[in-house]
């Protein structure tokens, strides 16, 4: 069933397909606050897009509302700045209609975990081939400082002057629980790792969920310092490396073992445990992914960073294509005349 859209997409690309980050920077001023973590995420995106071997005109950046929502304006690609919470639904429709596109969604903790929560879990469940980048700054910034679904209990904000009463969502566990096939976490102070995570996320077929700790200098400054500062990061975070034992600490002297179903921190330099006792990370192990993700708000545990899970399943958009192809194979291409005639018609002369 060839349409005009197919015709238009057949127009050959002119010129060499060789891009640099500059090709993805439009001629506009970025209007995030000075020192915003957003800059530290924008530039790795502009840097890796040229490396993916995808035609620039095939990229689409979709966003919702919040500081993160402005990202499409800062990328010289097709872009759609939609409404609060609905970026994933817009992107889902676009990807189903146009599986040839590389669709990226930028969202935030308020946009994606609160007003857009329903679309988030269903996008994960369907495994739509989208790259979701969620800026998590644990606060509503664009509305000037109210608590968000990832704010921690007791957090003082403009709408919680006496402290937040709620427990936060753990985004990676929510994504895993909802069936996301690629789930990862990074932060704005480690550009190299972030670039790697963005690239893996882009290469993954199916839904990719990348949570990015993004510092908000104005309303929640320093929220992630313990995990991102050079002095404390090594002791407070655990980097997940596929096929490698879970070792962490400034001196690489601590690790994670499994005690029953529970992860536990042990020393590996005092003779009780050795590196061989530690859990070996496996991105394909969904049970392990949940165990590791659930360490997130456990104060006795380092904060896990990196890729929790990367498993392969046919994406929803691909299934739509298979189903159509399969049906056409079975019934032949639909004939409009017989559709209109239906099952029972009569003729008047």
């Amino acid at each position: 069933m060839k349409t005009i859209v197919d015709e238009i997409l057949k127009i050959p690309h002119v010129g060499e397909v060789k891009y640099t980050a500059k090709d993805f920077k439009p001629d506009v001023d970025v209007r995030w606050c000075a020192g915003c973590g957003g800059y530290a995420v924008l530039s790795p995106i502009q840097r890796i897009m040229p490396e993916l071997g995808i035609l620039k005109e095939k990229f689409v950046n979709v966003s919702g509302i919040g500081c993160s929502g402005r990202l499409p304006y800062y990328m010289d690609t097709y872009g759609f700045h939609s409404i609060h919470g609905r970026a994933l639904a817009v992107a889902t429709g676009l990807k189903i209609a146009r599986p040839d596109l590389s669709v990226w969604v930028t969202t935030g903790d308020g946009d994606n975990m609160s007003i857009g929560g329903n679309h988030f879990i269903h996008t994960c469940r369907r495994n739509v081939d989208l790259n979701i980048m969620m800026y998590n700054n644990e606060v509503y910034s664009l509305t000037k400082g109210q608590y968000s679904p990832t704010s921690h209990k007791g957090q003082i904000t403009k709408s919680s002057p006496l402290g937040v009463l709620e427990d936060p969502f753990n985004p990676s566990s929510l994504a895993l629980g909802a069936g996301a096939t690629f789930v990862a976490r990074g932060h704005d102070k480690d550009r190299k790792s972030l670039q790697m995570l963005l690239k893996r996320s882009a290469q993954h077929k199916g839904v990719s969920f990348l949570e990015i700790y993004t510092n908000c200098r104005i309303f929640n400054d320093g929220a992630f310092d313990e995990f991102t500062n050079k002095e404390t990061a090594a002791d407070n975070t655990l980097w997940l490396e596929d096929g490698e034992p879970l070792v962490f600490g400034k001196n690489r002297d601590k690790g994670i073992i499994l005690d029953g179903y529970n992860p536990k921190v042990v020393g590996i330099d005092n003779g009780d445990y050795s590196i061989d006792d530690l859990i070996v990370h496996n991105e394909k192990d969904s049970t392990l992914a949940l165990i590791l993700s659930n360490m997130t708000y456990n104060e006795e545990m380092p904060r896990p960073m990196g890729i929790f899970q990367s498993i392969e399943k046919p994406s929803y958009d691909a299934r739509v294509e298979y189903q159509i192809a399969d049906e056409i194979k079975k019934k032949g291409e639909g004939n409009l005349e017989s559709l209109l005639l239906g099952e029972s018609f009569w003729e008047i002369n």
Binding site: L9, I324, L340, G342
Partner: protein, 613 residues
């Protein structure tokens, strides 16, 4: 046996029974067969909102009404001429609407103690004088069928289940309908169940023969063929017609179709039909909620599809914010609202026309969009094509209003050939030299449709106000003023591109009936009746509610009195009054039921008898 034949212009027959009695099935067969016999037909299914209502109860009654005749069959019939009642409850529910001296064909079996108790009849209506003003044929259908099927040695349950077909056979005899189409249908439907097939065909003939041989049945009725244009016909519901309209619109425009919808009564069938059209390359998403339904459609529209979402009142409320997005991004989108009685869950299976103001004005900001309304089941096809054409040509969301009545009612539809349907020519931008996201076509004021994948047209759209022409984000005061005016002007300009309002009767005078949407059938029937009786009045029906046809104001100004019957508390009345600054006489019914033609007729007679200066 001395049977006589009486000639009739039109008949309303109602098949009523328990939910499990197969009334929808025989109703559909009767209506298809009447279409094949060359009559105009209008039908309405009337079934409980419970999925499997308890057997024998009043609220478990399932009915199917067929109005058929030679001409002007535009409603499902105000009153019943022939009632087929399979049990006591179905008789009780339908009786108030039966004509005096009307015909009742009863299944005696359904009037045992248990059925009588459930129906709340203190006495058996077959044994007292309740039915003395009607022509009653009480038949022990089960006994007749048992005898007919004796030699087949079938399970009694199966035998009992064919009683609807027996009743159908009787009605076929009564109205001299051809029996072959239903035989062919049974052969196809039960092709792998030899015993069921044989039983049903035999019982259908048995019903016919029973009436033919019974001394009780003295009269047959004949209805002349209608003078319909030549062509192929089928029966179609409004919901079916919308689904077909969407597929045809996408083919006429030669672009892909995407439907994003969430199930909601009474619109769900459209989603179901579309989901079965996979070999036509149609894509659909059963979304997680109403909002995802519309926003996924907006995403698909950005990607170059003819995108649609279907819903009913509460769903339209949920989609409201997203309509603002479609308006400001100026993307084509078709929203079909199959209206039901509200507010809130209201009467979810019953029709109303009470979402007109929501469709017209129910948005934040200055957010005009075209609003269309279908007049009948088959008109849903035409208006879906129109909604698609306007959406694609003017790069705008369009709301098409239908309702639970025409959504589920059927009428014969002359199947059009593709060539006779209007062309739809969407314009995609491909030239980077001349492209700007908000550079408008000077004639239509519509912006170019530049879809991802085209080199050199990379651009950003979104909910923030954009600079005229360039499409960059703009907070500049005069630019917002200009963009609001441009969007408004674009929608108003569509008036030049839609048919002028057509007037029945004199173009000047005392009284004008102005109707919209599904009220057409009842209003037109009343108008026809009154003009035939020698009254002078005129009639205009509106299918385009925003913008109105260009000549509407002129027409209205030529009448002393404007009369608007509508299934709401006066919504079109309010719009007409405020747009044209003229008074309007309203007639407002909100009972979860369409107008009867006679209700409108009576009101009009009252107005005609009290002429005011």
């Amino acid at each position: 046996m001395g049977k006589t034949v009486e000639h009739l212009e039109d008949v309303t027959i109602r098949f009523a029974g328990d939910s499990g009695d197969g009334m929808q099935l025989i109703g559909t067969q009767f209506s298809d067969t009447s279409g094949i016999a060359g009559n105009e037909v209008n039908t309405f299914p009337d079934y409980p909102s419970e999925i499997r209502a308890p057997e024998g109860t009043l609220y478990g009654v399932s009915a199917f009404q067929v109005h058929f005749g030679t001409k002007n069959i535009k409603t499902t019939g105000d009153f019943i001429d022939v009632l087929v009642a399979m049990n006591a409850s179905s008789l009780k529910v339908s009786l108030p609407n039966l004509h005096k001296n009307g015909i009742i064909i009863l299944n005696k079996d359904g009037f045992d103690d248990k059925n009588l108790k459930l129906s709340g009849y203190d006495e058996n209506p077959l044994e007292n004088n309740l039915l003395e003003n009607y022509q009653v044929y009480a038949i022990d259908m089960f006994k007749e069928i048992k005898q007919e099927l004796l030699e087949l040695d079938l399970h009694p349950k199966l035998v009992r289940r064919t009683k609807n077909i027996f009743a159908l056979g009787i009605t076929y005899w009564m109205f001299n309908r051809p029996i072959e189409p239903t035989v062919a249908w049974i052969n196809k439907k039960f092709k792998n169940k030899e015993d069921v097939k044989t039983a049903n065909i035999r019982v259908l003939h048995a019903g016919w023969n029973f009436a033919e041989n019974s001394p009780e049945f003295k009269k047959q009725y004949s209805i002349d063929k209608s003078d319909l244009p030549a062509g192929k016909y089928r029966n179609v519901t409004g919901n079916q017609a919308v689904a077909l309209g969407l597929v045809v619109a996408s083919r006429k425009a030669n672009i892909p179709l995407f439907l994003g919808s969430y199930p909601i009564t009474p619109a769900t069938e459209i989603l179901q039909y579309i989901s079965g059209y996979k070999n036509y390359g149609v894509k659909h998403l059963q979304a997680e909620d109403e909002i995802a339904g519309v926003t996924s459609a907006i995403g698909a529209a950005f990607g170059g599809s003819l995108a649609a979402t279907t819903t009913s009142g509460p769903g339209l409320s949920l989609k409201t914010e997203a309509l603002g997005l479609a308006i400001i991004t100026e993307l084509p989108l078709v929203i079909i609202n199959v209206q039901r009685a509200g507010p809130s869950t209201g009467l979810p299976t019953k029709p109303e026309q009470s979402d007109l103001l929501q469709a017209m004005y129910g948005r934040h900001g200055e957010a005009p969009l075209p609003v269309l309304a279908a007049a009948s089941a088959s008109d849903c096809f035409n208006m879906t094509l129109e909604a698609s054409r306007i959406a694609l040509k003017y790069m705008t969301p369009v709301i098409l209003l239908t309702d639970g009545y025409i959504g589920q009612a059927t009428e014969p539809w002359r199947i059009p050939s593709l060539d006779e349907l209007p062309d739809i020519n969407p314009q995609y931008a491909t030239d980077p030299e001349t492209f700007a996201p908000y550079k408008r076509d000077p004639e239509t004021l519509s912006r170019p449709w530049a879809i991802p994948g085209v080199q050199g047209l990379e651009h950003r759209i979104g909910g923030l106000e954009k600079q005229d022409v360039t499409g960059t984000v703009s907070h500049e005061p005069m630019n917002h003023q200009r963009m609001v005016e441009l969007r408004k002007g674009k929608i108003e300009g569509i008036a030049k591109d839609i048919p002028k309002a057509e007037i029945y009767g004199e173009s000047k005078g005392d009284l004008l009936i102005l109707s919209w949407g599904s009220t057409f059938g009842a209003a037109k029937t009343a108008y026809d009746k009154l003009t035939k009786d020698g009254h002078t009045l005129s009639f205009v029906h509106l299918k385009y509610l925003n913008p109105f046809p260009e000549n509407l104001g002129e027409i209205l100004n030529n009448f002393k009195r404007i009369f608007i019957p509508e299934l709401n508390m006066g919504q079109l009345k309010m719009i007409i009054q405020s747009t044209y600054l003229i008074p309007v006489i309203g007639m407002n019914k909100v009972q979860g039921k369409p107008f009867k033609a006679v209700e409108i007729e009576e009101k009009l007679v009252e107005l005609l008898n009290h002429k005011e200066g």
